[in-house]
């Protein structure tokens, strides 16, 4: 088949969808996609369509996540689970380098890990935005993060637009979904209508077009494109949550001493779940791991969280000792200071932090509570106000 143009739309029938995985695998991509494990939908290496959570969906609420069977055979009939793609791009544990002890010190040993070339299958628009945000965090400054960069470099992304919104979703508020706007190689919209089951597919890059050369597709008629559009709009209208972002940064900077922080601190367990499930939380520590003899040492990069006491430790003690200060750091970073650092919000509205909070703290409710009684300053403030 002829090479498609970037920007064109085609249809892939359900029975040909497996060809997409095969085409990617043939091009040596390691295909990572959603699959069922331990009663949750997680992202793992998948070799065939059968490994997708076919006919499953999730019910999400504050502090609750349950898998429920669907009546149709949808491949992507759910939203997001506890994991995000950062697990692959900035893994929870990575060895940075290792060293051998010498008489007076040490010698660095070269690391020679082959980087897998990933293809992500089923990246939700919120998560696609999260990857774009992580690009800014890790690649957009004087230094580039090798761990992220090496994994991001050859990444192929198959985005999937959302046709249903979860109960903790608020991507419409954050402007990140439910349609993918940029950053994908291919973006699909799953349509099931009676016996019809197909994917309206947008070609985002030349790479995407090249892969489609190996896949059976047909021209997308107006009705299919309209159906996709309609489903996405329905998702947009059925968001389970809403977050008012109007001058949110200034609102939060102006309310660093708001009583709501005390309120949420009473409930927050400082367990760090929200930071682990957040697709943009990028903080990590670097730890020294030595063998028993002490002849060999390894430097490991491990996810860390601003909710731990050790995170802000400087000699003499931690800067943020109270739960209040740690929750405030997390939320104001995500929704306020992130704008100053990376020119975007750090929140993509995926709702994971709401679902996976063991005590059901809801970032949209906390923000609304501050907005209700807190004042938005008349002019932009450059620092949090005491």
């Amino acid at each position: 088949m002829a090479r498609l143009d970037v920007g064109s739309q085609v249809i892939i029938q359900r029975e040909h969808f497996g060809e997409l995985l095969e085409a990617l695998q043939k091009k040596s991509y390691k295909t990572i996609g959603p699959t069922l494990r331990e009663k949750a939908i997680v992202y793992e290496e998948i070799e065939s369509v059968n490994q997708l959570p076919v006919g499953w969906t999730e019910k999400q609420e504050k502090g609750k996540y349950r898998l429920v069977e669907r009546s149709d055979g949808a491949l992507f009939g759910y939203n997001v689970g506890p994991q995000s793609w950062k697990s692959y791009l900035s893994p929870p544990e990575v060895k940075l380098w290792s060293a051998r002890k010498t008489e007076n010190g040490f010698e660095v040993e070269e690391k020679s890990d082959e980087m897998p070339q990933y293809a992500f299958i089923g990246v939700r628009p919120c998560d696609l935005s999260a990857i774009n945000i992580l690009d800014r965090v890790f690649l957009d400054d004087e230094y580039q993060d090798n761990v992220y960069g090496e994994r991001r470099k050859g990444l192929f992304i198959v985005a999937v637009n959302c046709t249903e919104a979860g109960n903790t979703c608020f991507c419409s508020s954050m402007g990140t979904g439910p349609r993918s706007r940029e950053g994908y190689d291919l973006a699909i919209t799953e349509i099931i209508d009676g016996v019809d089951h197909f994917f309206v597919t947008d070609v985002g890059t030349e790479n995407g077009a090249a892969v489609l050369e190996e896949v059976t597709w047909e021209k997308a008629g107006d009705s299919a494109v309209e159906a996709a559009e309609e489903r996405i709009n329905e998702a947009a209208d059925s968001m389970g949550r809403d977050l008012d972002t109007d001058r949110l940064r200034d609102l939060l900077f102006n309310n660093f001493e708001h009583p709501q922080w005390h309120d949420v601190a009473e409930r927050c367990l400082s367990c760090a779940n929200c930071t682990m499930v957040c697709p943009t939380c990028f903080c990590h520590t670097v730890e020294e791991v030595t063998d028993l003899e002490g002849d060999h040492a390894e430097r490991w990069r491990i996810w860390d969280s601003c909710f731990t006491l050790g995170y802000s430790y400087i000699h003499g003690g931690s800067v943020r000792k109270s739960t209040l200060s740690r929750y405030r750091q997390w939320m104001t970073h995500k929704l306020a200071s992130w704008h100053d650092q990376f020119g975007t919000s750090g929140c993509v509205g995926c709702g994971r932090c709401i679902t996976w909070c063991p005590v059901g703290i809801d970032i949209t409710e906390e923000t609304a509570a501050i907005r209700k009684s807190g004042k938005v300053p008349e002019e932009k403030v450059d620092q949090p106000q005491p």
Binding site: C306, Q329, S337
Partner: protein, 288 residues
Amino acid sequence: MDLEHNTLTKEQIEANPMLPRRFRIDKVTWETQETFTHELVPIDGADMFRFKPGQFNMIYVFGVGEIAISISGDPDDDSRLYHTTRVVGSVTRRKQNLVEGDILGIRGPFGNHWPVEKAVGKDVVVIAGGIGLAPLRPVIYYLLNHRDQYKRITLLYGTRSPDKILYSRQLKEWGARFDIDVSVTVDSADTDWQGHVGIVTKLIPKAVFDPNNTVAFVCGPEIMMRFTAMDLLKFDMPEDKIYVSMERNHKCGIGFCGHCQLGSYFICKDGPVFTYDKLKSYLSIKEV
């Protein structure tokens, strides 16, 4: 043992900012009972790097880990690297036991610098508290190396007690010069101490400077910097001519690990040096 051998090339190290360069400890000087200075020279045939006053390095001790320490040597002398360390945590405890000839890993220099270039043609007041003199020592070296570019130069230094004074021989040497005014004060002393007693801000009214044409560089504990800045403001110094240096936890030094955040800033790349107006709110909010 072959010290010159390294499995990594210079290019590899430069391509990966997380890899340390190896330096040999050439001299250890104990400044006080719990503070020591390492003089380091690069091995593996690597060039000595240049740094600017106020920048820091991540120092790696094999088997223990890394710690951020400011560079305390002369920025115009690239033959040696100086680090003054106070023994406080696991890395510094191990570090104090290292001897001449031992090898450390160095990543850096990181962070911005005390903008000595913005003080040209002006009076300069350097105010240090405790170990805060270490990151400011490169400023003094620089100012004295380029003495004709500056007007009056004053160093005010406060610390806990006479036995905690850093670089005491050097302070005496500088104190004997006519082109820099040096005053040292301690929080308390026995009656043998001939110098000032009291907090460092008490020295400010005695310093001679033109508030409208002065740059102040302040480094010490946060509370000391806050009070010092407030006193300088009483003398009508503009907020953006007062520079302070912040300390936070560092794991990477290059803006990725997140630990050094202070509100909108990453101390490792936006700092550690800030003008007071960019920091004053942060200094007055608890646990920020």
